[in-house]
């Protein structure tokens, strides 16, 4: 049980963030709207829903990843998860061919890609964790270089691909913040809902896992199995966010660390919703400010990259100083 003061603080934080979230969402839906409201609302509604799903997926996957890694600097995207997803997409085009792939049902295709990501990330990170877990720095560096490798391999394969085939698929497969792929919204929503139910049932387990391997084993949690299962959940969430808006390297790092900073507790029942709220506020609010106020459209991901890189260096250097 949390002491009273802390509980009050948590409540205040959640209340404040909820208000901000509502403001950001309303601003996103209404600011600068011209013409028919029914069109604006449905068009922006789909985009807003996608952004919220992305914010949720990134925030939750990052916090869970940091819990099972017992490290607050690594995130799935720093470790190359979303680059791996893009690589898998590219390899699929390569193996099956653009024509047959675009004839496929997009839902089935998404499920296939998410499944492959689960499989490969599990294999890969099981292997990395077995070898590199002793040093957090090695773990991060190996993850980052794997990310570079996946990106280079994707661009290598994309260059081998027939140019016209590549063009057909480029729009379909590679989304970004200003070209949100809303066609996958339905399936993404369902998948995220299922994952959420599983996560809610596992919340106490995550709190125990956060204590470390020895403690959690002593408390009766099958540590290895939980980690592998959680990696699977994380893969699904990463697949959702990457399919919707493409790879975003540092967003998770920013929101997760902000949540740890303002919260007096590290219980997942509190951290996960707060991180999600922060993510929604920053993503939706940031998009509104950049798009409507400054008229910078794709700049959001670049700014996240810039700030996130600075924060990362700061965290790493400070962590080393301690």
């Amino acid at each position: 049980m949390l002491p009273d003061v802390r509980r009050k603080r948590v409540r205040a934080v959640i209340a404040l963030l909820s208000v901000l979230t509502v403001i950001a969402m309303v601003a996103f839906m209404t600011l600068g709207a011209k013409g028919s409201w029914s069109f604006v609302l449905s068009f922006r509604g789909a985009k807003l829903a996608s952004l919220v799903l992305v914010a949720y997926s990134i925030a939750v996957s990052t916090v869970l990843f940091q819990t099972i890694m017992e490290n607050r600097i690594v995130t799935p995207s720093i470790m190359g998860f979303d680059a791996l997803y893009v690589l898998l997409q590219t390899v699929l085009v390569f193996a099956i061919g653009a024509g047959r792939l675009s004839a496929m049902n997009p839902f089935l295709l998404f499920l296939l890609e998410a499944g492959l990501l689960m499989l490969f990330s599990n294999l890969l990170y099981r292997w990395i964790l077995a070898g590199a877990a002793r040093s957090a720095h090695l773990l991060m560096l190996v993850g980052i270089v794997f990310g570079i490798l996946f990106r280079s391999l994707s661009s290598f394969l994309q260059r081998i691909l027939d140019p016209s085939e590549f063009l057909i698929l480029q729009d379909r497969m590679f989304a970004s913040f200003n070209a949100v792929d809303t066609s996958l919204l339905g399936i993404a929503g369902i998948v995220v809902a299922i994952v959420t139910v599983i996560i809610m049932r596992m919340l106490p387990v995550f709190d125990v896992v956060a204590l470390g391997r020895n403690h959690s084993t002593a408390l009766g949690v099958d540590h290895n199995r939980t980690i592998m299962f959680t990696l699977g959940l994380i893969s699904v969430l990463i697949a959702v966010s990457t399919a919707l808006v493409g790879p975003v390297t540092f967003f998770g790092l920013l929101v997760a660390n902000l949540a740890y900073l303002i919260l007096p507790t590290s219980r997942h029942a509190v951290v996960l919703p707060v991180a999600t709220l922060i993510a929604v506020v920053t993503l939706v609010g940031g998009q509104v400010i950049l798009e409507r106020v400054f008229a910078f459209d794709t700049a959001l991901s670049i700014i996240i990259e810039f700030v996130g890189g600075l924060v990362f260096i700061l965290l790493v250097v400070r962590g080393a100083a301690r």
């Binding site: 070898g131 560096l141 280079s152 700014i303 890189g309």
Partner: protein, 322 residues
């Protein structure tokens, strides 16, 4: 110590064979018989395109490998090279700046601007390293890669705003197919700087042993650092201005050579130069053949090979430590 001279001569001979092969591989047909028969067209192709391209490959390959080695001595870390510490990104920021401010500037002005930026970026990196009290071997490339990301984000932001993303792509992905007579001569400066590095080799070797040791031996540490930084920045800038970035070359070659002949730079530098040139030649010929009649830029080939090698270096250390 056993002399490596015979092996070195053999390597030089192999390099010569590769260079000759490079003259005769490509889309348009150039062969010994067509030259003998006095075919004007194939002679033209040889003189205007193939010979300059081969020279550019040798110059860029050897000088970038040498620069990687110097950087590793100065930062006293095996994992650094211009593309992992922000030098490359800073140089392309410089090219972007001069392209915007003075579009018609001659290429030498572009190169000098790029090298000033490259030098500033590298100096920032070395500055940050001072704040890392525990000089963790792995923290250095970690910080460097992130710094590259930050500088890259700034560059992308401005390139995006100014509609120069495509040109940015050309600077960041090395491609020797653009080399023609009259458009690569800047690389001779890089070659000359490589020779300068050979003359100053002993100083860099000593500087690699640390500031106190260097000062004890009566060398001005700051001056050696400055000399090294100047060579690194000028070479990186001239290569990026003419052909674009060749990632990881400075990481792969010096590490392979260090495994073979050790850390004395006077001894290892000829090896680095020859292997660097040979490796770039092989990669470029491979890029010319793999998707004939198109070409794969060398940057894409090196990205894949380099990332694999980086992982090998990192994980080899772990398995040895285990």
């Amino acid at each position: 110590m056993k002399s490596t001279l015979p092996a070195l001569l053999l390597a030089a001979f192999v390099l010569l064979v590769l260079a000759v092969a490079s003259l005769f591989v490509g889309v348009s047909d150039v062969s010994l018989s067509s030259l003998m028969s006095g075919d004007d067209k194939s002679l033209q192709v040889l003189l205007v395109s193939r010979a300059p391209r081969t020279a550019a490959l040798i110059l860029a390959g050897s000088s970038m490998a040498i620069v990687g080695m110097i950087m590793q001595m100065l930062a006293r870390n095996r994992f650094v090279e211009p593309s992992t510490i922000g030098t490359v990104e800073s140089a392309s920021l410089g090219i972007l700046a001069i392209t915007v401010l003075a579009p018609g500037a001659p290429v030498i002005v572009k190169m000098i601007t790029a090298s000033v930026f490259a030098m500033a970026g590298t100096a920032i990196f070395l500055r940050i390293l001072k704040f890392v009290p525990l000089r963790s071997v792995l923290l250095v490339p970690l910080v460097g890669i992130m710094l590259s990301g930050i500088i890259g984000a700034i560059t992308t932001f401005f390139a995006y705003r100014l509609d120069l993303l495509q040109s940015l792509g050309a600077w960041m992905t090395g491609d020797f197919s653009v080399v023609l007579r009259g458009r690569y001569e800047l690389l001779w400066i890089a070659g000359a700087l490589g020779i300068a590095a050979y003359i100053a080799a002993d100083r860099f070797t000593v500087a690699g042993l640390g500031q106190h040791f260097t000062t004890n031996l009566g060398l001005n540490y700051r001056r050696v650092m400055l000399l090294g930084l100047t060579i690194v920045s000028l070479v990186t800038a001239s290569v990026i201005v003419t052909v674009g970035s060749v990632p990881f070359l400075g990481l792969i070659i010096p590490n392979v050579v260090a495994m073979m002949v050790g850390d004395n730079m006077r001894r290892s530098l000829p090896w680095v130069a020859i292997l660097g040139a040979g490796f770039v030649l092989v990669c470029d010929i491979f890029g010319r053949l793999i998707i004939r009649p198109y070409e794969m830029p060398i940057g894409a080939v090196m990205g894949v090979i380099g990332a694999f090698f980086f992982l090998y270096l990192l994980l080899r250390r772990t398995s040895r430590a285990a």
